[in-house]
């Protein structure tokens, strides 16, 4: 997927963030001269979604996970099992 940051204006990105479906976003990206895969479109739209899991469910999911550490800079995620 080619990315041309300099040509994506604030207005264009605002429009992209208003898309509601994967197909809509893929079509819009095409008008910008960009190809988005289905997975990329899903990932983009997911960034805009609210969390669906409630507090109780999150407790089951979130224990022990960190989102920001990188094994290269400190202890945290990276290779493992």
């Amino acid at each position: 997927m080619p990315i041309n940051k300099n040509e994506l204006t604030k207005e264009m990105l605002t429009k992209a963030m208003q898309c509601e479906t994967v197909d809509e976003l893929i079509a819009l990206a095409k008008t910008y001269g960009m190809e988005l895969s289905k997975e990329e479109a899903e990932a983009y739209l997911a960034e805009l979604d609210d969390m669906e899991l409630d507090g109780e469910a999150l407790k089951q999911v979130a224990g022990g996970e960190c989102y920001g550490d990188c094994a290269c800079h400190g202890r945290g995620h990276g290779p493992g099992l």
């Binding site: 899903e42 997911a46 969390m51 407790k59 979130a62 920001g68 400190g74 493992g80």
Partner: protein
């Protein structure tokens, strides 16, 4: 019936560093199953002689995923299923916040991966985060919290985040973090830390990563002050002062050919300065306190240190391997386990495996190497957002941005590109036995090696994994055999299964549920299906009615 495409065979290595004769280790990289088998059975497996195994062993290995009736496409479908579950449920549940007050730095380390920003000149470097940009960033973070995302911590980063001249800006950011209830840490060179001692205590900054690269002159050549001033003594004095204020310090040592043989001198100097002895005392005191209060902390912060091979891609002739640091530590007299504990690319795997041996949870199945492919947001002083802290300042890698007056980050498609840099989507990784172990490797290393952030980087993961697993499993095996010999436990088949296996929960997902998982983007829908399979840690809700 066939051997899983994700099967890894390894020797068992005892605490005496000798191979444990007569036994071998099976690791299934897809389901995370780790098993000890007799060497003769491992040989039969590798030869495809399944009929030569005992019925009980064959059944056990099939249940755990080492032997399978699935073809390559069938196992790949399991990898994609697990990856989708992980990305949708775990990968989207939180934000890993990293804030840069400035790009400026008082050091000019020759191997710094942010050298590109120096071309922009000191005028640009002098910029710090404005109040207006700060306001917009924290409004966007409040929005994340309001939408249900986990956000618990902020890491200060740079350049050098703790420059003495910028303390006012840093305090303003810390005030905002405190309003949101965020704990704080930082990656700092430690040179100006004396100016931040009251700040560390007031804002309860929990931990700092500080780097030295050897003692005295050796350090000062690599951790180079921009005005050529010596740095080593001042950094370590500041580390002691910060520890006294209750902040934990993790001392990182970047090792290349130049300072590989200086590791001993550094450890000796840390001992001579009292860091090691004081940490041993502190740990004893904490253990005593925790007999009555499990969360008790000592006044003095925890001190630790670790080594990491430098990735100076501009000068690869100066680099060493991660294993070189382990070998050097073992020459210095550390045991393999002690060396692993002091190496950042090894200790995570060692610690994780030891946890898995307790069989209280399933092996990890993240398809993402690190936070860069998940929820990490690295926000620079101008409000630009990056997915990875190695690419800050690179205009072509901006993933999003925020401007004064905005209340949400504006994302460009680069964000999605980083989110989809996962092993289920990278062709080279899909059928690799190390997919869920390596997780695609570091994007930044991939760019340095191949000019492409979005392809795999294997690095030394196979060698590192083999070194660790053989030893940590060997140690566990010796423990179990000793317990059995003392009559404390038996050595039945369960003793040979060192971890749980995801093969079980995956087999409990019906075809209709599998199709639903692969089609839906609903986090809750996927969570509800998978919860019933028993993958998540057991809780009242998980156990009831399932």
């Amino acid at each position: 019936m066939k051997l899983s495409a994700y099967e890894i065979f390894l020797p068992l290595v005892g605490t005496d560093e000798k191979q444990i004769e007569g036994y071998a280790l099976l690791v299934n990289g897809l389901y995370g199953a780790v098993d000890v088998v007799k060497k003769e059975d491992a040989d039969k497996l590798q030869a495809g002689d399944f009929a030569g195994l005992s019925a009980a062993l064959r059944e056990r290995l099939m249940l755990r995923g080492h032997i399978t009736r699935k073809d390559e496409a069938g196992e790949l479908a399991d990898l994609k299923l697990l990856s989708r579950v992980y990305k949708t449920v775990y990968g989207r549940s939180g934000v890993g916040l990293v804030i840069m007050p400035t790009y400026d730095c008082n050091f000019r380390c020759p191997y710094c991966f942010e050298q590109h920003r120096l071309k922009k000149g000191q005028g640009w470097l002098d910029n710090t985060m404005s109040d207006e940009v700060m306001e917009a960033i924290f409004n966007a973070l409040k929005d994340y919290k309001a939408r249900g995302y986990g956000l618990g911590h902020c890491t200060f980063y740079g350049g050098e985040p703790f420059l003495a001249k910028n303390i006012a800006v840093v305090k303003k950011i810390a005030d905002k973090c405190r309003e949101l209830g965020l704990s704080m840490g930082a990656i700092t060179n430690g040179y100006d830390l004396e100016a931040y001692l009251d700040f560390l205590e007031e804002y309860k900054v929990g931990n700092l990563q500080v780097t030295v690269d050897g003692t005295a002159e050796l350090n000062d050549r690599r951790r180079l002050h921009k005005d050529g001033l010596p740095t080593y003594d001042r950094i370590l004095k500041n580390v002691e002062l910060a520890l006294q204020r209750g902040t934990a310090i993790n001392l990182r040592v970047n090792v290349g050919k130049e300072n590989l043989h200086g590791m001993q001198d550094l450890v000796d100097d840390l001992k001579a300065r009292g860091f090691i002895a004081k940490e041993e005392e502190r740990a004893k005191e904490e253990a005593e306190l925790r007999k009555t209060d499990p969360k008790a902390k000592t006044q003095r912060g925890e001190f630790s240190y670790y080594f990491k091979a430098t990735n100076d891609d501009a000068h690869p002739e100066k680099n060493i391997s991660e294993q070189d640091t382990i070998d050097e530590m073992m020459k210095m007299g550390f045991t393999a386990e002690e060396a692993v504990a002091r190496q950042s690319q090894y200790n995570v795997i060692w610690d994780r495996l030891q946890m898995l041996f307790k069989k209280e949870g399933y092996p990890d199945f993240s398809p993402a190497y690190c936070g860069a492919e998940q929820g990490m947001l690295v926000v620079d002083p101008f409000g630009k957002v990056y997915s990875c802290w190695d690419v800050v300042g690179k205009d072509d890698q901006v993933a999003g941005y925020i401007e004064p007056g905005m209340h949400r980050f504006l994302w460009n498609f680069s964000k999605a590109k980083w989110r989809t840099r996962t092993v289920d989507l990278m062709k080279a990784c899909q059928t690799c036995p190390y997919a869920f172990i390596c997780r695609g490797g570091c994007a930044s290393r991939s760019h340095n090696a191949y000019g492409d952030y979005f392809r795999e980087f294997c690095g030394e993961v196979k060698e590192i994994f083999a070194f660790i697993v053989s030893r940590v499993a060997g140690k566990e095996w010796e423990k179990r055999c000793a317990a059995a010999a003392a009559g404390e436990t038996g050595m039945d088949g369960c003793a040979e299964e060192l971890t749980l296996s995801l093969a079980g929960p995956v087999s409990r997902i019906t075809e209709a549920e599998r199709a639903a998982i692969m089609a839906t983007t609903s986090q809750k829908e996927i969570f509800d299906i998978v919860k019933a399979s028993g993958i998540f840690p057991a809780g009242e809700e998980a156990v009831k009615g399932n």
